[in-house]
Amino acid sequence: MKRWRLFLVLFLATLLIPLGAAAQKDTLVVALVSHAPTIDPHFHFERVGILVNINMFDSLLHKNKRLEYEPSLATSWKALNDTTWEFKLRKGVKFHNGEVMTAEDVKFSFDRVLDPAKKSPQYGNIRAIKEVRIVDPETIHLITDRPFPLLLERMVFFPIVPKKHVEKVGDQVFGISQPVGTGPWKFVEWKRDQHIKLEAFDGHWRGRPAFKHLIIRAVPEVSTQVAELKTGGVDLIRNVSSDLVPDLKAHPQTYVSTAPILRTHYIEFDMRHPPFDKKLVRQAANYAVDKQTIIQKLMAGLGRQVATTVHPAAFGHDPSVTPYPYDPKKARELLAQAGYPNGVDVTIHSAFVEFRPVFEAICQMLTEVGIRATPKPWDPGPAYNKFLQGEGKATHGYYGSWGYYSVFDADAILHPLYHTEPGGWIGKWYTRIEGLDGMIDEARSTVDQAKRKRIYAQIQRYIKEEAPNIFLFHQFDTLGVSKKVEYEARGDEWLWLFDAKPKR
């Protein structure tokens, strides 16, 4: 009987041990919905992967909390002419395996992405770079085939990998079991779909991060992530739905940190077919939607109205262009003028699961002024892609958003949304605004920032008038954080965990 009791006690004790694991002070546990297919920073282009990579690898440049450029592996940089950039490299930076970083490693990193045979998904990002020239061991020149104003933005996430090591172990092994970088944490273990374990790198040039262990778990379910955060199983979760914000704020062990981000929402119109082929109808739709109410009531205030699709934080934004006000009366008038005094029936599509309430509210508001919108919600996946390529090309509109791929420049949304060349894949089907292609190209072909600014201001006025979209709002990043950890959300959605500190 006694032995039984002892057994029971032991049993309960072993049961409780792992519960305390995450509570250890020097360990930071982050939950992401999934892991990227590889840890090699050059062979994926996924947010969940980037968030892991930036804590293991450095790029030439870095952005601070205020999103200003900061030196990282490059200590200084300048444009020598329209197509040549010079970067001075930091001296004595060590990789996790002890090797010193050199200009050779930088060139190697670019070359492996630029090699078409390797099919890096990031190839398009830096395609404009024609040549990487080593001037001396501390200086490199990036030579582009045309003026490439986005170069610096691209250098913020362009991790440098060690040439010798990668060549020795091969790309495959490097990405799965032996990744090596110069970043604050070094690789320990990756169990796919389970966790990535990292350990602080003593030789990191910035010094040691506050947390010795960094664990990135893959937890697909939102409700599971929230449960983990509340019970201390994880310390940080992303993309907290605004409806859960009050809950996590009120919970004794968690808080919420938010920051405005680039992700901008809009309803895209099919401008080739009635009724949205008429400018007046498109404008009416813009007047019909009460963006402020949506932000306040459905998004817990975590959003800002935008005048066009160009984000206020993006280069080229013109604050003198103001948003369409909410004016249902005017909307009805415009609709009548356009030849629809009795209203019109449309179908709007969306595959945006977490914003379904917003989507349905928008359709309701359109319906109230006479644009009777039937919401057609989709679950993201192959069927939706198929639809977009097929009938999607000839539908009335859909609710979408664009995250700029974290590039703070007007071009990062104007080109993909409105340009008709293959790279601009939405513009190809939906929007055809006379002359917009030329304007976008013109702004792209110079590094004269003042000139670019002028062109973008012109474009914004133009698209506001033409209204190829209902311009809605931009989103906030919302992190749920354990009270044991001090960390602030960033405007670029990065989890730069070097800034995370344990709370005393």
Partner: protein, 304 residues
């Protein structure tokens, strides 16, 4: 016995080809898989990929090639992971099998004694309770059971970890969730076959001879009740694996189900095919074993 084994083995082979056909069919049904894989690429690139992947060959040829490759375990490289699809599946297989076997074990451990009890003490209070629990267990969506168990045991009472797969404590909630999915059916079958057996002549005879009630139950009845349990387990194994998919998602278990679900949503066909094929092979194997077991158990019934 040998002929039976041989006949079953041939059947397994035929079923394997059938499984390949359906797995292969998934890809064919999608119309143009290349267009789905690279929606943004220019047509020239698509055509190149189509040619490279052999999508331009006659369907029959493609199928023969697919069967040949499947047998050799070659499902191609995952589009997403850029790694051999089979490796990705095999890497996660132990997790899924552990979860499934644990759940099944749990279900058997609970349902056999409970089923016997409620058959022997029919219409007793406990029997009624068991009946209600059985019906409830059968009527809940698996993910609902999972979320509720998690909220109670991990969040409210803090007895078990919420999610993950780091040690045996982490296996309890997923195994119970999946077990709850399987146990009711087994319980019902044990109960009804026990009832049937208990009413039979030889049991009555044994009783009238004064053989102790429990010996009657264990010696005679249980052996017979085991038979349908084994059969149903085999038949239901595929459904159980389906339940594992959901359980893995709820509890962030790194198993095959989660891999396949994501592969399906991403149209990562090599992984979908490798995963579905391998799971089906496991079901086929389980059923083969069940058949053999059945043949082994069957004579005992006749002997009585």
């Amino acid at each position: 016995m040998t002929t039976l084994l041989l006949r079953r083995a041939i059947r397994v082979l035929v079923v394997c080809v059938g499984v390949s056909l359906i797995t292969f069919g998934i890809l064919q049904l999608s119309g143009d898989p290349v267009a789905l894989m690279m929606p943004e690429a220019p047509e020239a690139d698509r055509a190149k990929l189509r040619e490279a992947m052999g999508f331009n060959d006659p369907v029959a040829l493609q199928f023969v090639r697919f069967v040949g490759n499947s047998i050799r375990g070659e499902f191609g490289k995952s589009f997403y992971y850029r790694a051999p699809a089979l490796d990705l599946v095999l890497e996660r297989m132990p997790t899924t099998l552990t979860l499934t076997v644990l759940a099944l074990g749990l279900a058997v451990l609970v349902s056999i004694p409970a089923g016997i009890y409620s058959a022997v003490y029919r219409y007793s209070l406990l029997d009624q309770i068991v009946t209600v629990v059985v019906f409830l267990g059968q009527s809940m969506p698996v993910f609902w059971t999972g979320i509720m168990l998690m909220l109670l045991f991990a969040v409210q009472w803090r007895l078990l970890p919420v999610s993950g797969w780091e040690g045996w404590q982490f296996m309890i909630l997923p195994a119970v969730t999946l077990g709850t999915f399987q146990a009711p059916l087994l319980l019902r079958i044990v109960r009804s076959s026990m009832l049937e057996v208990l009413g039979l002549d030889y049991v009555r005879t044994a009783r009238s001879k004064g053989v102790s009630e429990w010996i009657v139950i264990c010696r005679h009845a249980l052996v017979n009740a085991a038979l349908p349990v084994v059969t149903v387990t085999g038949l239901q194994f595929g459904i159980l694996l389906g339940g594992a998919v959901i359980t893995e998602t709820v509890f962030a278990v790194p198993g095959v189900g989660r891999l396949i679900v994501r592969a399906i949503l991403q149209l990562d066909f090599p992984v979908v095919q490798a995963g579905v094929f391998l799971l089906a092979m496991i079901v086929v194997t389980v059923n083969f074993v069940v058949d053999v077991l059945y043949a082994y158990l069957n004579p005992q019934i006749r002997v009585r």
